[in-house]
């Protein structure tokens, strides 16, 4: 039986400018600007963070285990999200959401949080020090930073089955959800000398399975840090995705992946298409071919294009929904929307790309790149084409190209503004966000699975939230309403 696909997206934003062009200083200014505007003063709590835990159960001593930085700006927002400095980037981790549509809303809310932080920060900086932010994944010079999806998965699903089932999706989904990129920037990519790639991230992947996220990036990441009851749950940490400007692309990325994980939980891995013999070669070569004709040899000796994989996977998801419903992922209308959009985008990229240029980021970007190149007869390496690529992801409204290419919206801006402040109602993010909203002065820290209170006397009091599906509005709104202070809340919880 599939578990509810609680999910969310973490996004590291590209950052430029700031005092002395120091990205860590600039990132701290961004996070603090938002916090100081009165949105939050609550610190993040690192208790329970174990990014070095490996889902395969091996202690890989030679691996480069991720390090948790505790000294940088780090806050939790009233919408349940985390806003912090990760390495040298400002990062927004959305709250846990119950459906792909909701998770898309909170991802878009993250863009608006960054835009507001940017506005506040730049008011206090000299013009020459102004900061700019980009929702993308590479600088075009060989440096990549991540957009990671997270999905709740039943603990009893064997990790090797996740690898077996999900590799075909992770190597091929870029044809509908890739954000597109001008040229290449890694050794192997530069050898191919492409004018354009489907994905920002594809050429950075070097392994099929692994723990690292910054070196030797793997197609399936084994970080085993459920931020929940580890007896019951896994958190699949997906690092092979692009940051999407298209809301529909984000929605289909989350929806398709969540549905396929539900299929895996229901039926096991054998119904999935065979994996490519060389998954790393597949993800890179698919990215290099906007004509979508390139095929790779698979474990069953068949040749498949990325489109073939996606077509098979779509039918698998559609069959599952027809026979079992899609309640693990979302309600019937939303699941139908996932399947319909995924199908339209898949057929569109093959048969009539312009018809999906309002939803598929790489198509929208390629259309303006090609158009601009033709208009001015530019050579393949012209800096203006790279500038268009970069500016597609620019968060400044006066510079953003994504805002100008006619992308469809799933969530009107009024709803996005609400989501900046209010948490999702059907996960524990509700309780976290509401506690930050109501009891800020008595909370010393919060994290994914607990909130820590300081009542002024006695030890700090930690309220655990090990089940992502508890702490919802339905379960806690009455309690919170009847507890004007944190003392009242903790007393009520102890009863």
């Amino acid at each position: 039986m599939p578990v509810a696909k609680v999910l969310g997206i973490e996004t590291e934003y590209g950052i430029a400018g700031g005092p002395d062009l120091d990205p860590i200083v600039a990132s701290s200014i961004i996070v603090n600007a938002y916090a100081q505007e009165g949105h939050t003063r609550i610190n993040w709590d690192f208790e329970g963070e174990t990014p070095e835990m490996d889902a395969r159960g091996l202690a890989n001593l030679t691996a480069f285990a991720p390090v948790v930085e505790t000294h940088l700006a780090n806050t939790v927002l009233t919408n349940g999200a985390r806003l912090y400095v990760d390495h040298a980037h400002p990062e927004y981790s959305s709250p846990e959401c119950r459906t792909p549509l909701e998770a898309t809303l909170y991802d878009v809310a993250g863009e608006e949080v960054m835009r507001r932080a940017l506005r506040v920060a730049n008011q206090s900086l000299d013009v020459g020090q102004a900061i700019t932010l980009y929702k993308n994944n590479s600088d075009g010079k060989g440096n990549s930073y991540g957009t990671h999806e997270n999905y709740l998965v039943a603990r009893d699903v064997e990790f090797l089955h996740i690898v077996r089932a999900m590799v075909p999706h992770f190597v091929s989904r870029q044809i509908v959800i890739g954000a597109g990129k001008v040229a290449a920037e890694t050794e192997s990519g530069i050898d191919a000398d492409p004018a354009f790639q489907l994905s920002q991230r594809a050429e950075f992947f070097e392994e099929v399975v692994g723990l690292e996220t910054t070196l030797k990036r793997p197609i399936v990441n084994t970080r085993d840090e459920p931020h929940a009851d580890a007896e019951r749950f896994r958190r699949l940490h997906v690092i092979i995705g692009d940051a999407n400007m298209s809301q529909v692309a984000t929605f289909v990325k989350l929806g398709s992946t969540a549905l396929l994980l539900a299929v895996l939980e229901e039926h096991g891995p054998s119904c999935f298409p065979a994996s490519p013999r060389q998954p790393v070669g597949a993800v890179r070569s698919f990215a290099l071919d906007p004509t979508l004709r390139h095929a790779v040899l698979c474990e069953d000796d068949q040749q498949r294009t990325a489109w073939d994989f996606q077509d098979q996977l779509w039918h698998l998801a559609e069959g599952y929904v027809a026979s079992h419903g899609g309640e693990a992922v979302a309600g019937p209308d939303e699941v139908a929307l996932i399947l319909a959009q995924w199908r339209e985008m898949l057929d569109g990229v093959r048969d009539d790309p312009v018809s999906v240029s309002d939803r598929v980021d790489w198509v929208a970007k390629l259309r303006i790149i090609d158009g601009y190149r033709e208009r001015y007869q530019l050579s393949q390496g012209d800096a203006r084409l790279r500038a268009i690529d970069l500016q597609y992801h620019d968060l400044r409204p006066e510079r953003s190209l994504a805002q100008r290419v006619g992308l469809r919206e799933l969530h009107p801006i009024e709803q996005v503004r609400e989501a900046i402040h209010n948490p999702p109602e059907t996960t524990r993010a509700y309780f976290r966000g509401q506690c930050v909203e109501r009891y800020a002065d008595q909370i010393v820290a919060a994290n994914w699975d607990s909130v820590v209170f300081d009542l002024g006397e006695g030890p700090l009091r930690r309220v655990p939230m090990l089940d992502p599906l508890r702490g919802t509005r339905a379960l806690t709104a009455d309690l919170l309403e009847t507890c004007p202070t944190a003392d009242d809340l903790l007393e009520a919880l102890n009863r």
Partner: protein
């Protein structure tokens, strides 16, 4: 005239022209090209002026 009004006006002028005797596909193709031309005009207005320097200066530390 605002950018939006200008675009709407251009579109209105295009659609008010007498329908030429061409296939639906060709008309659709003309419309797509006109839309793209408008979009490229808009990009010209907001694209960073010194693209070379803009692109060169965008250097990130890896993350994740």
């Amino acid at each position: 005239m605002s950018e939006q009004e200008r675009i709407q006006k251009q579109r209105a002028e295009r659609t008010s022209e007498p329908a030429p005797a061409v296939s639906v596909d060709a008309t659709k193709g003309d419309q797509l090209k006109a839309d793209l031309d408008d979009l490229l005009d808009e990009i010209d207005e907001v694209l960073e002026e010194n693209a070379e320097e803009f692109v060169r200066n965008y250097v990130q530390k890896g993350g994740e």
